[in-house]
Symmetry: C2
Subunit: 458 residues, 2 copies
Amino acid sequence: MSEPVGVALLGCGTVGGGVAKLLLEHGDRLEQRSGRRLELRRVVVRDPAKPRAVVIPPALLSTDIAAALHDPAVHVVVELIGGTDLARRVVLDALAAGKHVVTANKALLAAHGPDVFEAARKAERTVCFEAAVAGGVPIIRALGESLAANQVTAIQAILNGTSNYILTAMADGGKSYADALAEAQRLGYAEADPTLDVDGSDAAHKLAVLAQIAFGVTAQPHEIERQGIERIDVTDIRYATELGYTIKLLAEAWSSPSQVGKSSSRQDAGDRPDDLRPDDLKTVALHVAPVMVRKTDMLAQVRGAYNAIQIVGDVVGETLYQGPGAGMMPTASSVVADLIDLAVGRAQKTFAAARLWSHRDRGFTVEPSEKVRSRFYLRLAVRDMPGVLADVCRVLADEGISISSVIQHEAVEGHPEQSVPLVIMTHYAETGRFRSAVKAIDRLGTVATPAVSYPVDD
Amino acid sequence: MSEPVGVALLGCGTVGGGVAKLLLEHGDRLEQRSGRRLELRRVVVRDPAKPRAVVIPPALLSTDIAAALHDPAVHVVVELIGGTDLARRVVLDALAAGKHVVTANKALLAAHGPDVFEAARKAERTVCFEAAVAGGVPIIRALGESLAANQVTAIQAILNGTSNYILTAMADGGKSYADALAEAQRLGYAEADPTLDVDGSDAAHKLAVLAQIAFGVTAQPHEIERQGIERIDVTDIRYATELGYTIKLLAEAWSSPSQVGKSSSRQDAGDRPDDLRPDDLKTVALHVAPVMVRKTDMLAQVRGAYNAIQIVGDVVGETLYQGPGAGMMPTASSVVADLIDLAVGRAQKTFAAARLWSHRDRGFTVEPSEKVRSRFYLRLAVRDMPGVLADVCRVLADEGISISSVIQHEAVEGHPEQSVPLVIMTHYAETGRFRSAVKAIDRLGTVATPAVSYPVDD
């Protein structure tokens, strides 16, 4: 029987408590899976006296990070501190002290991936991060190992459980955004300050991590265009339903074959998986936005706080991975899977082969979403007078955008006086040209309030 | 740079052609992912002169299996022969000759898993089989590695693309079983003799493989109860729709906590993932059957030839994996992922740690599905006379089964003269007691034809 693996837990909040519970109460199971005992040897917290859901033996608890990092009986440090400053210092110190690192910290990876991974390679240690994206969904292994024969061509993912919970409550219960958010806060699905969840920032951090694995691009989070769900009106949810769609906050990556004369497009992804992409297609557009998804699409069925990731690979075609995106035990499941991989020796092999956040260039560059081709939903409040529809159609036509369908209902409550809602679905168009058209439409005297628009996934 | 990995392909049909295409045309990509060149060195076929979709260099082609197995330049043998007899001999010979083996052969694993894995351990070689279950869906890695912190408590899976294609065509197009099957055959989704696909045998083989990973049980395929889709009537599809369900052929594993006084049940799975199962719950029921799945359930949305596997782990809760279940490139994606894992050295670690099909007992035993608690759909053709419903209800009540809802429409075409359809949905009941009730109902003089029944997943 091999030596036990000594584990130090830095941070013992919700996820840390789950990890401690597994290590303390299910040691035999974990030993059976990894061939070695996983021993919890230190738990570092800010306040050892604080009552916890999981009882930690007092001898393990301390406030001393440095002692944990330099304890020779500790082989793996689990970073659950969060944030980017202290977490970065602690992770770099742990690696320098010869420890492997398991982290659930997507913000750290998105902001400091190159530093952290370079330090790990220098120290010949391994960094694992299955829990950093989509909680209990094993998407890091799927992308990095299971789909290794593929060049990923598209990712469409629900990566923020809070936003998905709110959108589900709006669609199912007819709730307003404010009411749905309040409900999510009451039930613990949203924090008191939900900004990073609902404005797309959290999803963008996670997308940056996935894009590193799938394309080898290091996109700083601020480079990823994002639109949140804060301005989604229940009117849009109703129109989406009427048109056969559901609105989901999606983190998306579209790889473009533009070098061979085709634009990247929702149209291209996944057609003819036996017709592989040439290996010289090297641009990718990354963004987070509310997207209208067909009701019959798998992503439309993902409800509440669940996460789901659809990946199109040029060999396999479309695959989808779904599960709980956060929470004590689901996230602990991923953290402990990393500990088992380290104990088995699998993680070290993967780390060495993948060379993530390294200078090994796979040749992909991030391009703005301007060139991504998509259908669009456009909702306007227009003055009830002749010629308005003609004006709007003319602006779209000038950008080469053709209209697929138009809905004009009677005026509804809440709309500015003397204005009526006008909803237009376009055919496929380049995002950049659509955006130009929207700007021009907003300048029309016949349009009462700024246009609302979302991409449509068809 | 490390030595190349020499690969021999035994069999070059659809999947073999896909594997050859990847190795021959995307060598740089695969080398980048694995750090070693994957070199196709031999392709053994029955008829080298046969025209192929993928052009194989003539120097690689031969009919000589033994030469491939004993070529020192070959390190990995990819078995794509199929069947259980020749495949078994070839795999055992390859292992004895010191080669690693990659196989897509679920029938081989289901029938001869213990032999093959014992031989591999003796030879200190590795057997990989991601492609054996669900084609391009990386379910083997998900179960064996990503969810390693979990005890799986339930599996519900669409594992046969042919059956799912037929059921989708029946539900969407209102086609009869015979017409849907003919369409599937015309489009290449069903073979000329579709028996093993539509009678549940293929799904049972795959379930046997998943059950080995999840529970350590070696279930011979004939020990897995199965009911196919051949007798599903379009009437049942219509009632299912009316009741808010879709009929799917599911391969299921339900792990029972019966030792602590609770029966296994669709009710139990997945509730309160933070309330872990004790590690001493050790029975599992395995079966393949058409099941009524709620329309809003993810499994209900899986269309056409796609496969999907829902896994409930006691730590993570519900996760789902979906993708193409067969086909040239999707299956090749999984085969080549195994080759990359062998080149990286990951597969060897996994193989050693997992000890599949070994004598290491994890204590699970397979029990009949009799004790699984479920709701049921029951369709009867009853004579149009007083007291019939009372008789049926009495039989169900005698078995302690209570009724949730009843539908009785006007008589429809195709029913025996003077009989009307009667559809009953039950509350949760033990499978064994429900089956007893059905037998008793079939003996009632007022029931015209044998009852049709399916479990209902709620």
